[in-house]
Symmetry: C2
Subunit: 131 residues, 2 copies
């Protein structure tokens, strides 16, 4: 194997904090609405329990990806959740990187459906996009 | 919130078995080479330890996503790893679903960079693609 292929699929740049499925849902939701959301709406849109949503929001807030703020209103205070500016950038970086990985896989899987290429011992077949 | 938006970002169709980062790396790698790979090559391409790769392969094999086979050769037997036919289909389903989620986020984030839309209490702003 050539040295430039080593670690090519380690996906080390893929942000683990945002990759967890429920968090990906939360962040996709905030991206889609392009705005802040209340705790209650976010909970419904992501089908999470209060406890689960709280835990994920706490982790994302600690990383500086989202911010929450309380708004006093009639009755109970509302909690609003939104991206921070760096958090939004960080999510876009994650999305861009993951998209490129998936795009390559999608192409290879579709192309490979009728292929019968077989690797022989010690020789890696061409990897799409490798130089 | 309209009832068709409830759970829209739960991402419940997103296959957890394949979503874990190291496994996504392993499966992307198998997709890219369109072939079987030896344990050693897969380990190098994914930058995993023997133990970690073994554990992930075991989980993926138990789910019927990949298969492994031993090939006797000079010295130690080689272990070859490849997709099963249903596993390959299942990975493509995962990739297609995740791609559509990411594509929506990417579009919204790029569009929203200059947007100042703000949700008002109890009213969800339009969500791209929602009917």
């Amino acid at each position: 194997m050539s040295s430039d292929q080593k670690g090519r699929f380690a996906l080390q740049g893929l942000d683990r904090v945002m990759h967890e499925r429920a968090r990906l849902g939360i962040l996709s939701c905030l991206a889609a609405v392009q705005s802040e959301l209340t705790f209650g709406d976010l909970k419904d849109l992501c089908s999470l329990t209060d406890g689960n949503l709280s835990r994920h929001l706490h982790a994302l807030e600690e990383e500086g990806i989202i911010r929450t703020r309380k708004e006093a209103g009639r009755g109970r205070a509302l909690t609003w959740i939104g991206f921070t500016t760096p958090g939004r950038e960080r999510f876009l970086d994650y999305v861009d990187l993951l998209e490129s990985v998936l795009h390559d896989s999608q192409r290879a899987l579709r192309r490979g459906a009728s292929s019968t290429i077989r690797a022989s011992e010690g020789v890696l077949p061409d990897i799409a996009g490798a130089s």
